[in-house]
């Protein structure tokens, strides 16, 4: 069987702020047997205007995304939230629009990274070594819109030296919420502090998640309150632990 033709939807946050997460994603996908492409026409899924209520602006960006990912077997993103935008929200956003059929088609072949690695490429176990205690934050949209449960944790479980300790409420929102974080900064920061206290209680030195937005929010707050706790994208940790980092660059 020829390898799956996978388009990496890197997301604007990873592209601009965390390019190493994109590289780690490519390395993991290739390690699991995928033929990875990066369509240069992609920018942003349009979630910020969509969540702010500006549907026309969201559609404008959505059309760019629909065009960029035409023709691939799968579109894979290192973000549960952006993947959910394509898979869950686009069919609503384009309902009754000329692009409706294409939006539904894209929705049917869009996946979050750990989900695609485990459920579709059959990567049951990743061997590697990473020393330390970590805790896993379930990003909201991956958890509740895509129904991701254990894929990220499953991959972490194969890493030697890594101890996973769960928070009291790993599924509680960190307070990012896209534009929510700047519209209501005080509430968002209070939510991040709530999260930080839970992370602290696990004794973990690193909090791992599958979404750059949440990581940016938690890292940004932890830098002010608990600089000794690191944040890491699950793709970065896995690629680093498995020694795959070189493979992408």
């Amino acid at each position: 069987m020829p390898p799956a033709r996978v388009a990496l939807f890197v997301t604007c946050l990873v592209d601009l702020l965390y390019p190493e997460v994109g590289e780690a994603s490519v390395a993991l996908l290739r390690h699991a047997g995928a033929d990875v492409a990066f369509p240069a026409g992609q920018t942003c899924c349009g979630q910020p205007p969509f969540n702010a209520g500006f549907v026309d602006d969201a559609r404008r960006l959505g059309r760019v995304t629909l065009r960029a990912f035409e023709g691939f077997d799968a579109v894979v993103s290192p973000s549960g939230s952006c993947a959910a935008m394509l898979r869950v929200s686009y069919p609503h956003l384009f309902a009754g629009e000329p692009e409706e059929r294409r939006a539904r088609d894209l929705a049917g072949r869009t996946f979050e990274l750990t989900e695609y690695l485990v459920d579709h490429l059959g990567l049951d176990r990743l061997e590697g070594r990473w020393e330390g205690r970590v805790t896993y934050h379930d990003a909201c949209h991956g958890l509740r819109e895509l129904g991701l449960r254990g894929q990220g944790r499953q991959l972490l479980s194969g890493i030697d030296g890594l101890e996973l300790v769960e928070m009291a409420r790993p599924d509680a929102c960190c307070g990012f919420g896209g534009t929510f974080s700047v519209r209501l900064p005080e509430v968002a920061v209070a939510m991040a502090d709530d999260k930080a206290a839970q992370i602290d209680a696990t004794g973990a030195s690193t909090v791992v998640a599958g979404d750059a937005g949440c990581l940016m929010h938690m890292a940004g707050r932890l830098a002010r309150s608990r600089a000794d706790i690191a944040t890491m994208h699950v793709a970065s940790l896995l690629a680093s632990a498995a020694g795959l980092e070189r493979a992408a660059t």
């Binding site: 601009l16 990066f38 960006l61 939510m191």
Partner: protein
Amino acid sequence: MTAGDERAGTFAELAHVQLEKPGLRRAIGSAMDRFVLNRANAFAGADLEAMRAAGEAIRAHTVARLDSYLAQFAEAAEARGVKVFFAADGAEAVEYVRGVIRDHGATRVAKGKSMASEEIGLNHALEADGVDVVETDLGEYIVQIAHEPPSHIIVPAIHKKRDEIAELFNDVHHTDLPADPPELTRFARELLRDRFLSAEVGITGVNFAVADAGAFVIVTNEGNGRMCSTLPKVHVALMGMERIVPSFRELAVMLPLLTGSATGQRVTAYLNVIGGPRGPDDVDGPDEVHVVILDNGRSRLLGTEYRSVLHCIRCGACQNVCPVYRQVGGHGYGTVYGGPIGAVLTPLLDGFERAGDLPYASSLCAACTDVCPVRIPLHEHLLSLRRDVARERAGAAERSAFRTWSAVWSRPWSYRLAARFGRAGQALFARGGRIRRAPFPLSRWTSGRDLPPIASRTFRERWKRTGHRREPGAADGR
């Protein structure tokens, strides 16, 4: 929710006040944790998803035929001697209740818990008439004597710690009670017992009305609903027009969903089914029973995309899991209904002028949708409301910011250019790989958090240089 009832501030302003209160977040958080755990225990071993699906189906069926079920209920209830009044709005409902009290020359009212009565500002109106109204649910009594609105649908005084309650009791009653819950409860019981026996009129809410039986149900844990509806000579029950089920069969599905979701109980302590005033052979019960069925904006939602908001059974579960509610409590919203259901319902009932900011008081984490016993897609409604609010009320600055941003980012070349501009601009602010202070609007982020700088080489720049090359070591299918 009555005319002229202004909110004390915007969500941002009120949330700020709540966040400043020492210990409030901890108190709400630990109570919420307890409720979430109790709910999980209550439904342990049950097929909760099947129950939720059944609950949703019953509510959707009923609300879609609300007119005929209400007519059926009214006819059956009237046949049992109940006086039924349909109130188009809060003012009509208040006027009707005032009339009943006036007709009986009543001055003392014992009141059970009713969110609908909060919605229409009933207590204030009656007190203005010189009627002495006492809330008999302990939590409601606490917030009443504190002159505060309830802060949670089920647990109105959730924001109050035990020592605050003791202090409040001692201030109001000139007592010297310790901050001991059983002791405080005993004191309140004695006080309220006297009220039950002397009140001429009892006012309660309604959890469900049963259409074919013409009966209605009150669920309480303290038994105060039973006292209010049996001891006074006149009982007035107030219900939102959507709080109806076709028959007792459906009620049997809805009750465990309500009690399990609300308080984590499989069965409530007191369940009253009220079929009308005392009959000639009954030894006790009220001489008159009135049911006030309140529209107050609800019927406008029928047939719209928001109709499922009328499926709500007021269990408060969405508040218990909401990470925003957890930080600011019900008083952060400044409306009768707080939390996710309030952020959806209030703008729909009261309009965007008054509550258009509430749909934004959410991170859209969707925990509310996941927990709702009748599967109301609350976070999707919040999104739809934002769309409506943006269409009607968005400021020019925000509108043009999103328009410009989406225009620039909809072309890869201008997106890349914007990244380069951003990188040049951030040189002024980035220190040691972090941005601690940035100009507006990013200052709204950096006020509490660091911001990562744009990478020296973006992913697409890196990919262009090396990414297309496949390493021989990687299992890339070649």
